[in-house]
Amino acid sequence: MTFTATPILEIDRFSFRIGPKEILRDVSFSVAQGEYLSIVGPNGAGKTTLLKCLDRIYRGGTGRITVFGRPLNGYRQRDLARRLSYVPQADGRVFPFTVEQFVLMGRYPYLNPFSSIGCEDRRTVRQVMERTGIDEFAHRKLDTLSGGERQKVYIAAALAQGAEVLLLDEPTTFLDYRHQAEIRDLLAEVNRNSGVTVVAVTHDVNRAAMDSHRIIALSGGSVVFDGTPGEIMRPEVLQRIYGTPFLLVAHPQGDVPIIAPQMPREDER
């Protein structure tokens, strides 16, 4: 499946530095409406920084970023939040807000400081909680949830924001198999049925190849690969990205090969 629709995110020769260190260098790519794009690459390649620059959590940088045809810097943060929403990497620090309170905060771009939260906001929140299956623990406190439950709540809050693009930073990294599958199904469903564009940073190239339409690899702050899952799943391509040898095997159910873990060398066993 290829996307010929007009791109909704265009990144054109974007560079970004923190202090003297150049984190992103001449990054160019675009994302089409409805696309599921994964961003992979070694640690410190600038993946998270790129996501944060797209959502203007980090400001500055050189080059051009265009969001829905308008330059990123022309947006008020509130208006940007109606277009893009961001799901951060899970960190331990949470306040004891209830799940419902937290998801409700996703409606911030639509709230008026002088009135209380409206029926429409509450309805959206209820729908999102049902859809993500978190309504059963709507009144539990965030700090009592497991990692998997919490991740669903974060995604639900991002969906409540009503944005057309979801930016996710390692959404499944710390989760067990069942929760990984649930998050994956949720993202696939949102992408397919609601046409929400997904841009996800991940370390799991196997999953990225199965879930995404397209994959981008960053290394040392530059785009070193931009192509289809079939194209990235080649030992020489992967080795160029990660600088370590790869072993690929056929998947019993699909035609794109998968990465098999290397056996320890004979003398190490």
Partner: protein, 330 residues
Amino acid sequence: MRTTTILATLAILALVAVCGAPLVGGEQVSLGALWGDAEAGQLKILWTLRMPRVAVGFLAGAGLAIAGMAFQAMFRNPLATPFTLGVSSGASLGAAVYIHLGLAFSFLRIPGESWFAFAGALVTIAVVYGLARAARGASNVTMLLAGVAVSFFFSSMILFLQYLSDLTRTFRMVRWVMGGLDVVGLDSVLTVLPFVFAGCAVVLYFRHELNLITTGEELAVARGVEVDRVKFVVFVVVSIMVGAIVSMCGPIGFVGLMAPHICRLLIGPDHRTLTPATILFGGAFLVLCDTVARTVIAPTELPVGILTALLGGPFFVWLLLTRAGRGDWE
């Protein structure tokens, strides 16, 4: 709903405190005096002495509590207080300079001590913000460290002034730092009121933003909050409010640190309900402490700053123990 019940209870508590406290004291005033049904002497005591004092106490308590709440949320730091950023030591230094120079004036019926203290507070606010700005980005840690450094610097200068001054003046400085609500007349009330009103209004206006900032600044930005602008406005308006309160009443401790925590334990972290709860609780608490302070060793008065922690500390520990396991800060 439970939150409504808690808010209603706090509102009743505040009302009882504000109406009841002025009746208590060396001279008992009958309940009827509240609606003018008493002899002239009692009415005079009630309306020119006790009511202003209770009103200033309520405003100061509410203001300090809301300031603590806002700073704790903004810096995501449970130890933040209205004084963390040095406002109170700046104000105290201002007052100490006034006392050391042996000045004695009043302007617009506000004592010169308060003017000097307020000037000290404003200078501190500018210095702390300037330092944080100069260190690029005004991050939480830089800002807190700048506040602590300025605090220590000013405290040393106060000690220096005390060392230079004679015994009477030194005693006045020490006494000022203990804080007290010994105000007379309606003027003090009208002076503090606009500051506290502005502070509470700004914090209430930004209730959604404060909620989001406590969940993490980056997430708040992603949800559409202009975090830097919100933090700047809250910092400036709330600090000026604290400066005004401290100039009038001295640095009354504990209310600003603990009242928000107590309210969080009672009603949860949502600033939509936490803010009114903290205003009511902080105000009522300081009025209560002051009532004890001026009656417990009558006819002499204790500085209220001594009593706030003496009374509030055990209560807070009791709440912590009975409501353990719902810790709100990691």
